[in-house]
Symmetry: D2
Subunit: 385 residues, 4 copies
């Protein structure tokens, strides 16, 4: 396989981030089978055509079934909202295409399991894009934990805080509608934290949580917003959570706490974890994504302290492909790394994590939390085999 | 009342901190009735005598009943471990003494209620020493919330992390024994967070939590510690939690998360809260106790950001008594402020918060969390009238 | 002009950064005349061919004179070491090409002035790539200063600290050779600080400085490095400074301090300035390039503090083209912005700063500092008309 | 000597800080000869009496000559403005009293040398109170440098930034009058930086600097301030610098940069140094006085980073006398440590640094900078023998 022909579904926020990654990855990484930007698919023909022209996609489609039916496509990238993932991914797998899917894998555990079954049956490569695993500082954290540098992990505390919904006049969009998004901050942000937890600590077995929608109605998209909007008129119902928190127990004995919110003033994309081990700690936060804080109990007495590792050295994961030390990377680099790794998996035939089982297990945790909110009690998490 | 004669019970860590406060408060604050360091009480006559000589206490006692019986004592300061609080405080109140008590108020809710009843019946002033309320930056946070500067409080997230028990060879002491301490990180550290939450946000109504003892046995005090210690031999059982986390709902609708641990490498006295309101945020952390971070949605567009207020201006609470701006205060200043305020209450006859009802309500929250751990379900918190 | 045909000289660190910018700018910005990656030039035919294939340059040249002679090239991008800038840029201008040149503009003031005269005579667009001006947080700082948000600027303090030469066995390269690089940390790093100072504060009129080479010889490139290297044998002479500091006076009355060093352990690309004005302050540091710290004396009493503005809002310069708030940008984005702006200037015919006069004036400051080191006294800075 | 009878001159800011130190030191440190607060001296009899009553001084004097003449005084503490230091200290020495003197030692080098000669001739103990040496984190830095933990020191960069004079209506006081204060930010703040430099790096041999008074007149003390004040009327002339910067060379080959200003908005008591060595770095800043940042080139590759040492461990200098780890100290603790150390020196007969020679050498550096401002050229620093 000399190259990998890609068909992308979706051309908004994720469409841009993925397109940039396909374009950039082969420039900075040595790839035996680089991706070819073959076709992009969206329902609005004119808009998708303009997008394709801008980013250099060779062709466009307006029906994802047509895209999947094409013989010149090797892999399908599912970058559309969560309610569409299952149908597209399953069809793609059945057509023998490798599948790269945005997170969360699906809006229901049943869907996620079907997707997993489909890719397994088809024998194709599959990956769910929890991109934060591939920030160099997070990949470094993983290496350090595996090397035992913080000992046995005992506590994982994570928050993913945003503030874009603090303004009550911010209008409705698909992320506030349960039928499309599945849930709110929970599925959007806790999904990322759960994946990081599973990546760095292990399986979550039991959870208890709480959720709340503080602002229950918002101006409809396109409605005239502003102070004149009266309650009810031109307002839409927010059917997902603004905030979702839960406590967790891990299979290995660790304790965890998780929080996702879109109502934390001043926190823009504050995805942060702190891990306490038996001999050290690690702290990471996306807004300073190039930094990993590390405390080692093995440092000399009186010389211990949190060390701010600037993960921009050639010896750090992914960094050698980029710039000299101290020249920081940004958000989209995590997508470049993910696309690179998935393309390598496609060309080599090796597995690539997080795969659809990871994606499905993440949904299982999300589900158990929602169930715990209903029952007001701890719930065990189903294991996806 | 020209001065207030103080009798202090306890002469270890808290004894030093309180003694320093009695000595220092009248030097920096104008006090109509300054405290007089009349007597200190401890069981070891020689040790308490040496302590009294060092800190300038006029006399000593070895039995707290004797101390309370003295006619020349106006107020009793209970600075001994939690299991002794109830008996001493109740006896002091019955003898008509004002009572200043270390936190947590008691090891059980029943004890705490009896203490509250006793001070109410006696009509004496009473205060529980949740000292962190009186760090200037925390007092400032309270003022700002009351003035509506962050709007309606929606989320309170707090952690109190320490690491002094990470070393498994750190020996047993009273804080690891349930019969003396009541609980571990929970009663020691979550008690502080609960008080801060009640101070800044309001009453906690429902909780669900989890607790764990990661290191279940440790070398006995005085036992030869070290690697040669074999399991069981010379080892004591740790009967309290190392870590305790819980989620909470507040009466006003806010959500809360709390964590206390003694096993977070690198965190020494990391008492931190972050409050998200409908129009701003506040963040405070004890290790940088002079700083209050403030984010205001009212700042101009494009100029918003977390502001690091160095709470060392003359206009900030308590600061005018001390040094010029930028000359930071330390841990013991919070005790000086507490002693100052309580003595003012004693001399004026006004109430002073946090009082024994606050202390008892805090115990009620601690209790509900422990019950939720047993039942694996949410528990409502009893209201102490 | 529907597009701009680019010829790039140089294909190493700067070649990569520029190529990425040409590729990326038209994807994220709406450009009436996007750049076309026509030809890249380097002396090693095979290496430059491989580079061209990777980054998508249409053709290659091995002699920059040939590149300039081509009719299908509209602009020349000079990304080679400083000693080559003058000859290439002047020839390009004489051939009627627009010129985009890496910094510093030239190794001598005489060269810089000739370059300026050449582009003026030819009437072409010209720009020197002081890329840090175009980090969004720095562009924001400029806007804020111009709007008077910190009042009259009184002090500018800047350091540019790196540590890549701390290891005495790090081998020689062209940056340590005066005949190629002109100077060391001074021309490489102080040049950036001087440009930022001129951008944000104004003209520097008088300077006094000091320079030092702490490590005077290093293993030759290609020599077997390591502890076995004996002095002299296989060692090259470092003929440039490791560290260069100077004080400055600005035309507007402000005071400045500048430092550049490659010997500050732990500082990787620590380009930092702090500006004190009559009613506020601004602080920026590249390693956290998305942040601008802002202190305003206009904030309410008791609420003042340094505000950490995360310059990732759509209202911040350049950001609307990229991701949602909180999704940080990296080093190479500053190049994308510079290329975008220069191409806009080329297509519109407008001027674009920093231009060659800015570049020449920066060299004049660098020169005056070097002279002050020789004379051990303050020197006035020549004004380039 | 069972105790040391102290006579203090001055009862304002420094008087409070010193009194607190005499009161506190023997409570927390084991002192063979604790200080006795015998007498305090000030010109306003009523005010000094009130001060003495508050802080527990046994008696008062209104003429420092009377204080020195008393037989029951062992040491004189000179806490009055700089223009009074020489006369008092010399008289005290001649009377055989040990002398503890506030910084800077004197307003002129001639005075400083006379003071040094006087204490040497008298054979008394002498110390100048550069209190920042005794912040635990700074003492730790000294230990680490002496132990070679950052290798050979190459660069020292220090700033001492304040903002209390940013408001042009802030009224005159003695610190703005050259005849009393000697100089402005220079003698007040650079004096501290120079002492830290000499403590941590070594002797300064050559300097070049610049100074500026941005705001040359201010409302007189007691004059009605406010916007109605017209130029000249009720205004006083500021005869000292607002800002003073200089570059320096050290005897050991290191380079230094220094800045003092009272016009840096947002910086309250921002006394900061960063030291680059051949194998590591140290950074300290007073507003976070309990922290020492440490970068070690000896840390493993890929694990290097600035470590935030919270200097509150029992193994850190001075800390064992205070609280458990993480319970931070404040500004006045540095005075407690200084008083403790000087009293120990008095009782033991050992020398105690910084002594009057240190104080005089600091003045020599201050002087050389002022001379360099006049000559606009580098100046060598006189060595005080």
């Amino acid at each position: 396989m000399a190259s990998i022909n890609v068909g992308l579904v979706g051309y908004k926020f994720m469409g841009k981030a993925h397109s940039n990654a396909y374009m950039t990855a082969p420039k900075f990484f040595d790839m035996p089978a680089p991706p070819v930007m073959k076709a992009v698919c969206g329902r609005d023909a004119a808009a998708v055509k303009e997008f394709a022209d801008t980013f250099g996609w060779e062709s466009t489609e307006t029906d994802w079934r047509q895209l999947i039916a094409r013989n010149d496509i090797d892999m399908i990238d599912v970058g559309s909202p969560g309610d569409t993932h299952a149908a597209i991914a399953i069809a793609a797998a059945e057509a023998g295409k490798h599948v790269f899917c945005e997170k969360p894998l699906a809006n229901s555990l049943a869907d996620a399991k079907e997707m997993l079954a489909a890719v397994r049956k088809a024998g194709v490569r599959h990956m769910v894009n929890f991109n934060y695993r591939r920030c160099p500082a997070v990949s470094l954290a993983k290496q350090m934990i595996e090397a035992g540098e913080i000992g046995e992990v005992r506590q994982f505390r994570a928050v993913y805080l945003q503030d874009w919904l603090v303004d009550p006049l911010f209008p409705m969009n698909w992320r506030m509608r349960k039928e499309i998004a599945g849930s709110g901050a929970h599925g959007d942000l806790n999904a990322h934290l759960i994946d990081l937890a599973r990546f760095l600590v292990g399986e979550v077995t039991d959870v208890v949580g709480m959720m709340k929608t503080f602002i229950t109605e918002r101006p409809e998209e396109g409605a005239s917003t502003g102070l004149s909007a009266t309650a009810g008129e031109g307002m839409g119902q927010v059917t997902v959570d603004d905030s979702a928190l839960f406590l967790a127990r891990f299979a290995g004995g660790a304790l965890g706490s998780f929080e996702a919110t879109r109502l934390a003033p001043g926190r823009k994309n504050y995805n942060r974890f702190e891990i306490s081990g038996s001999k050290g700690s690690l702290v990471w936060m996306f807004e300073d994504m190039n930094e990993l804080q590390y405390y080692s109990c093995d440092d000399a007495d009186g010389r211990q302290g949190f060390r701010k590792i600037l993960a921009t050295e050639g010896s750090h994961p992914y960094v050698a492909a980029w710039w000299p030390p101290g020249h920081i990377l940004g958000y989209e680099h995590s997508f470049v790394h993910a696309i690179h790794d998935f393309c390598q998996a496609v060309s080599s035939g090796d597995d690539c994590r997080p795969d659809f089982r990871d994606g499905a297990q993440c949904v299982a945790v999300l589900d158990a939390v929602e169930k715990s909110v209903e029952t007001k009690a701890w719930q065990s998490v189903e294991t996806v085999e």
